[in-house]
Structure formats: structure tokens, C-alpha cells
């Protein structure tokens, strides 16, 4: 019950925060990619998408997340309206 009240007042419990941080950190660790390589990959993916649909290259996001021992890479990018 205390748990519930505390989470209601302060948002997430430190346990939940730790879990979330671990999912992200482990996902990155498991890919073996450093920040520079990841940046490079993001730029290349953005360039490929931009060849086909109009996008803002700065809005392309790469998310790496892990559940159990499966690691998932997700690329998301808003597409600009045509004739914009």
C-alpha cells in the first residue's frame, strides 16, 4: 500500500527506475556499438529513408531495447506531408 501511495505521489519507484535504466543500458551493451557508430548508423538510415519519403533527418530516432535475451532495434521517423 505504501508503495502505491509513494508511486502515486512521486511517480515511479526507484525499483522501476532501475529496471528501466537496465533495459536500456543492457540493450546498448549487447549491440557492442559505441555512440559514434550508432550516430553514423542513424545518419545512414535517415539518408536511405529520405531517398523515398520526405523526412527531417534530425527527427530520426533509433531505439534499442531488450527483453529477456532478445534485443530489438526500432527506427522511428515522422514523415513530412507532401507539398509541404
Amino acid at each position: 500500500m505504501w508503495n502505491g501511495i509513494k508511486e502515486f505521489l512521486t511517480g515511479k519507484s526507484s525499483r522501476e527506475v532501475a529496471k528501466g535504466r537496465l533495459h536500456l543500458v543492457l540493450a546498448h551493451d549487447r549491440t557492442g556499438l559505441d555512440g559514434a557508430r550508432l550516430h553514423e548508423m542513424r545518419q545512414e538510415i535517415a539518408a536511405v529513408i529520405a531517398k523515398y519519403v520526405p523526412i527531417d533527418a534530425d527527427m530520426v530516432e533509433i531505439q534499442i531495447e531488450t527483453r529477456s535475451r532478445e534485443t530489438q532495434l526500432t527506427v522511428s521517423s515522422p514523415i513530412q506531408p507532401r507539398n509541404a
Binding site: 525499483r15 532501475a18 535504466r21 537496465l22 543492457l26
Partner: protein
Amino acid sequence: MGRAIVITSGKGGVGKTTVTANLGTALAQLGHSAVLVDADIGLRNLDVVMGLENRIVYHLVDAIRGKCSVQKALIKDRRMENLWMLPASQTDDKDSVSPEEMKSLIWELKHTHDFVLIDCPAGIEQGFKNAIAGADEAIVVATPEVSSIRDADRVVGLLAASDIPVRLIVNRISQALVKRGDMLSQSDVIEILALELLGTIPLDDQIVATTNKGIPAVLEGKSLAAKELLRIAKRISGLEVEDRVASGFFARIGRALGLSATPA
């Protein structure tokens, strides 16, 4: 032919040496012959945790260099039948032995003992590579903290690359903190690392006291941590051990009402 099990963690200070000392002692209590190998060359500590520091004559590097036989380098524990320790050298460094040399040393010990427990140094460099070289299986010790779990995950990946099966011990869990939402729970750790669990050792003041005295806690046997360590040893030796049921007043009421009483 015995089984060689490496106890590892990546991060230092999570309780590898204490777990090694207690599991070895508990396995000996269960009637198996066990030898504890300190693979932390240059920073040995298994000897002091076991309280055998005054009896060291030869060490692991001496045995590998042929300065003495492997059997002669072993220290027999006088408190327990069937329990031996092979101390590390304090004056050499990790590079003074190779994985191949470790492998043949462990191979020889497996011929004379049911269990060879290898206390791995922290890190993932040469000392780690030496410690896992002769191991048939691995136990990863992790405390419920972000840094420890991150390092454990790294080690699990390296062990998988070497085809060594891994099981998990979660060390120093405080159920009070878990309930308050301020500590990762046993199931959180299992979910994140996706490993088979051998057991969860509670945070226990008694461990500090027994370690001060150089007595493995399972020899005194009373503390919660010691009981869990004995259960883990039983599980390692292949005995069926039922899951611990939450004790205490509220857990009993919960069970009476048919609510789940399994610890989170």
C-alpha cells in the same frame, strides 16, 4: 569425474568469494569432496575468508610451474572432512598462467574431487579467461543493483560464447527494501538476465561477523543467509529443494486465505 564450477560476476565486491567459501563448505557437509580454487592471482582472498591464511605453503602458480605436485599445494580444512583449498599466489600476476595451464590443473583436480569451485577475479580480462578455462559450468553472482546486473550481463555473454552453461545467484536481497519499492526484486533480476535461478541470498549481518572470524557461515548454520547457501549447495548437487515459502505472520495469513505467498 568431478564437476568444475566457476563463480563469477564481472563486478567486484558482490560476494563471489564468500559464496564460493560457503558453497564449498556446504557441499562438503553434504558428503561430497570439494576443492576451492582461488583464481585471483595477485589479490588472493579466499584464504582469509576460509580462515586458512596461516597454513599456506605452496600455491596455484607453484603447482602449475611444477614446484610441487597439485595435491601438495592443497590445504586440507581441519573443520570439515572432504574440504580442500588451493590458494592463489599473492606475488605473481594474472599473466603468469595461461588458460591452457589452468585447464589442465582443473582437469587434474576433477579426478580427485567431486566438486572443483573456482573463485574468479573481478573483471573480464586475463584473470577471468584463466578462471573459466577449465570450468564445465558457471554461477554468476549478482546483487540487485544496476551496476552489478550490467556487469553480470556482460559476463553471461562471454560465458555463452565459450559454451559454458550459467546459473544465477542473487545476493544481498533485502525484502524490506523490495517491498518499499527501493530495490530490484529477485524476479526483476531473473527477468532482466534471463537465467536459471539457483537461489537468492538475503542481506544478512551474520555474514559480516562470520567473515570477520574466518568461518564460513554455513558452519555456524543459524543465519538466514547460511540456510539459503545450504539450499543452493543441495540444488547444485542435484537434490530436489522446494522453493522457500515466505514465513512470518502475514505470509501465514495470506496462505490461509489462499493468497500467493511466493516472495516477489
